[in-house]
């Protein structure tokens, strides 16, 4: 298991979380290289289908990063993400996907250190959980 490198798909909102990721890189914060970033206009456009598709096509975990509630560039997009996440989590849990594999985080543009920390934390957790295989039914 030691040579397992988790693959994390991160859907980052272009106004906050993506900027934070960018800044974290420029500021040379130490980050695990397990993340594949997909830049989206808003966390509210991340349909649960995208998350499931990521899992079916080989992702070990999915992170959705959006602006803090109230800070959405489109006023209420992140509330949509916030409303979907618990139900999606419940569905994933029923299908045997551990709760650590899907996370919704609020990351402001200035939160570069927090972004790096979330990434590091998440990669460690997923490394512990092991590779995701869709065939494991609980």
């Amino acid at each position: 298991m030691s040579d397992f490198e988790p693959k994390i798909i991160a859907f980052l909102c272009t106004w906050c979380a993506y900027v934070a990721a960018d800044t974290a890189g420029i500021a040379r914060y130490k980050q695990k290289p397990n993340v594949r970033v997909i830049r989206v206009l808003c966390s509210g456009m991340v349909d649960p289908s995208y998350v499931l598709k990521a899992f079916t096509t080989g992702a070990d975990a999915v992170l959705v990063g959006g602006c803090h509630p109230g800070d959405c560039h489109y006023i209420s997009g992140n509330f949509k993400a916030m409303r979907r996440a618990p139900l999606l989590n419940k569905l994933l849990e029923e299908m045997g996907v551990e709760s650590g594999r899907f996370r919704l985080e609020w990351i402001a543009a200035s939160d570069a250190p927090q972004y790096a920390e979330i990434i590091n934390q998440m990669s460690e957790e997923v490394r512990r959980l092991g590779p995701f295989s869709p065939s494991m039914i609980k």
Binding site: P48, L52, L87, L88, E94, M95
Partner: protein, 338 residues
């Protein structure tokens, strides 16, 4: 049986693991069932004619096979392979054959690999005499839809298939080229591509689904206003019969993800759609789409309130993938056999 043994199509109708409601649905095409024998010789139909497997073996070839039921046992698999080998056209008839159906939900409680083998014999008090205990065929490790073990030419979804599409399918496949009036009638009920091909006398494209293209909402008669999902209700709980969209009233109605064709039969009488036509064309995964549809309409901006509503939901997988777990659930489906 038929009047023209040369032109008449040879038909086989069979149910694997299922309730045989699909076969009843074939009988349920009303008076048209009598005219069916003018176009078809039914060579193999155990349920109605009491046919046995040797009757099938006597046939050199079957033209059209309507196969219903999920693949649950070794016997089902064998039957599917046998019928596929004999048949020119294989139709998956009903939700079980087309998508795995309700029997497919057992996949949730089955760990991968060997399972259920201890149920090899029926240990049942009703079986009085010991030596007459029937051997059950071995169970498949997972319940599958027909298309996952053999190539399927056409699908007629529904639980059971609705009479109009079933009759349209029978007319376009069995009676093709024999009665233009009948064909144009059938074509008027089918999606454009299928309709066009059958009126021009050719078979619809392989893999066609005899149902609509959009979602059930498109043909549902209820009034859709602004969606706000406040409390989770189950169908038996009282709701107000106001003609409003059921999802807005807190019922988990799957019309939004489900292929249309039924005309909103269930929703018209106040029962939320259960998704027996499978997912609509544009939907990637029915469960994810439902999560999106319900979740984004929660009437709250407060994380704790949302969590409280979500807590009320029971059995999401069993609800969202009620008929489609083995084939259309993105995470657990097995790829189709081509």
């Amino acid at each position: 049986m038929g009047t023209n043994p040369v032109l008449n199509k040879k038909l086989a109708i069979f149910t694997a693991t299922g309730c045989r409601a699909c076969e009843n649905a074939i009988l349920d095409i009303h008076y048209q069932v009598s005219s069916l024998s003018r176009y078809a010789d039914i060579a193999f139909w155990p349920y109605v004619l009491g046919s046995e497997w040797r009757d099938l073996e006597k046939q050199e070839r079957i033209d059209i096979c309507f196969f219903s039921g999920a693949i649950r046992t070794g016997g089902d698999r064998e039957a599917a392979l046998k019928l596929r080998e004999k048949s020119r056209i294989m139709v998956a008839c009903g939700a079980c054959a087309a998508f795995g159906g309700m029997p497919g939900l057992v996949n949730m409680s089955q760990s991968s690999g060997e399972s259920g083998q201890s149920q090899g014999t029926m240990d049942n008090n009703q079986q009085a005499s010991e030596e007459k205990k029937p051997e059950l065929p071995p169970l498949e490790p997972r319940v599958l839809g027909l298309s996952q073990i053999v190539k399927v030419d056409y699908f007629v979804p529904g639980c059971p298939p609705t009479q109009n599409f079933l009759w349209a399918a029978i007319q376009s496949l069995v009676c093709n080229g024999q009665s233009p009036a009948r064909l144009s009638f059938a074509a008027s009920r089918l999606p454009e591509t299928i309709g066009r091909s059958i009126t021009s006398g050719i078979l619809p494209p392989k893999g066609s689904i005899f149902a609509g293209e959009k979602a059930v909402c498109a043909s549902c008669s209820r009034v859709k206003e602004e969606k706000r999902f406040e409390t989770y209700k189950r169908p038996y709980q009282a709701y107000e019969e106001s003609g409003r969209c059921l999802l807005e009233q807190g019922l988990v109605c799957q019309g939004i993800t489900t292929r249309e064709g039924c005309g909103g039969l269930c929703t018209a009488v106040g029962l939320p759609c259960r998704g027996c036509f499978g997912k609509a064309e544009a939907v990637f995964d029915p469960g994810a789409k439902m999560v999106s549809a319900i979740g984004s309409t929660f009437d709250s901006d407060d994380a704790q309130e949302i969590a409280a509503v979500v807590d009320d939901f029971v059995d999401l997988v069993g609800t969202f993938y009620r008929y489609t777990l083995p084939t259309q659930c993105a995470l657990f489906s097995t790829p189709p056999k081509d």
